[in-house]
Subunit: 286 residues, 2 copies
């Protein structure tokens, strides 16, 4: 995960002094890279030692390491191709501007989402999904659509998958899960009460819980065994539900592809399922 995101996420739970430092870094990563601890401290009116301690609390061995991480993070964000705009979409915008902004913010959320999850966590989730006897997918509203999309893909690989858009049915299904199963729960806010209850129940039954939520602290994430994250354009109200969904899809697509890589006979499964569907399509007589 990018340091800047990490700092931003932790900002709320930091001590006031650390928050000021973190805020400054998030707001001015460029300046920060050129400042010494003392200079940075002076900039925001705190002591030099606080800056050093801040770096250490974040898990970096030294201030220099923090700088390196910031520099790397900054470069990752720059990957948006030139011409992309990710401002919010305004009423007066022309067709072309809207197009660019839409694609720009979609791209941004996809990139930030893959950056927000490190390979280890993805790997753990993958391992769980791969070994699971059954996979239950939980999610309501828009997340339910993502869950269903993912369930179709998993079925193509011959996995045992459960999902229903009705949360009561989901709850009933969960009550049949056991320790060999996995619950994959999606909720951007991490606060959807139905999904949360389902995750809690699964946890109680010894089922491994993989949660896909936003980066902020949230109840669903707290009950999970494995935490994955999606990043959406929260500020831009008008596109937020779009990018939150895109972020979830990016993550589930990634998991699907990685599963395919792991499964030697995946192509055969996928191929067979596609043949089966195309038989349906070709059947013009029905």
């Amino acid at each position: 995960m990018s340091v800047l995101k990490k700092i931003e996420a932790k900002l709320e739970i930091m001590a006031p002094g650390d928050r000021e430092i973190g805020q400054y870094i998030v707001d001015n990563p460029d300046q920060m890279l050129r400042l010494s601890t003392a200079a940075l401290a002076a900039e925001i009116g705190r002591s030099q030692s606080s800056v050093v301690k801040f770096s250490q609390k974040l898990g970096y061995g030294s201030y220099q390491e923090l700088k390196l991480a910031v520099s790397e993070a900054k470069s990752q964000e720059w990957q948006v191709p030139a011409g992309m705009i990710h401002g919010s979409i305004e009423v007066g915008d022309s067709y072309l501007v809207i197009l660019r902004k839409l694609i720009g913010s979609k791209l941004l959320s996809m990139q930030q989402t893959v950056a927000a999850n490190n390979e280890q966590d993805i790997g753990k989730a993958l391992e769980m999904l791969n070994r699971a006897r059954r996979i239950h997918l939980a999610g309501v509203g828009a997340s339910s659509l993502v869950a269903r999309d993912f369930s179709y893909k998993l079925m193509k690989l011959g996995r045992n998958v459960l999902h229903d858009s009705d949360s009561h049915v989901q709850m009933a299904n969960v009550s049949t899960l056991g320790p060999d199963d996995v619950l994959f729960a999606l909720s951007y806010s991490g606060a959807s009460i139905e999904t949360l209850r389902i995750a809690e129940l699964a946890r109680k039954r010894g089922t491994t819980v993989v949660a896909v939520t936003g980066l902020h602290d949230n109840p669903l994430s707290r009950v999970a065994d494995i935490r994955l994250h999606t990043i959406a354009d929260e500020e831009r109200a008008r596109s937020s539900s779009i990018t939150a969904r895109d972020a979830q899809l990016t993550l589930t697509d990634l998991l699907f592809i990685l599963l395919v890589q792991k499964q030697p006979d995946a192509n055969e499964y996928v191929h067979n399922s596609e043949v089966a569907v195309s038989v349906l399509k070709a059947d013009r007589s029905s």
Copy 2:
């Protein structure tokens, strides 16, 4: 020009000592970033001061600045200009390569999709959707998920929308449509027999049919009044269903945003619907 290139170019005309330092940096930029002047000097058996002087000779005020430049240069190499790799995903690919290819092909399909539809056609579709008494969304399989996603968004705007994932129910619904209504039909192949039949029936009843299909000639497109197109990465079998869905979503998202632009009270509707949902979320007692 990137520092590394610059160093490489000057390597020949440098004094032997400087050349050694430069070579090391070019060869191991990653290590260099974590080494102090003294450590770097020790690594190649030279004096610490030589390293400092090396930085200065290159025009950087300090060793730290050189480090920053190297870090930046390294990150630039990462972002393959225009950014992405569009190759298909292979079994041996590393995690990072998969990430890039996935996002690359998603981006490509989004860009090609918006390019494949001219503003006039989009405008006509928009006009139809805007005026429609009722909007029926048709689609099966993965397209049904896109249809449902779109239906949620339209409902947020207070529109009259019909969609059911069961094609028989869709068919039944269509038989209640009239000339003031619009059928919005999604099918990448344009050959899904259920969706096609639904479109034909709608046509017969005088309902305007908007079809969203691939660019190839196809039956669904032929019966439609307004044709919109999605472009997916067909060659790449493994990601085709992913990009086809992304393309459809890009198009429906675009239509949604344009509808919002047209509807003066849209924000209020969207806001109200979001408030309603958040009330559900906050209700921890259920």
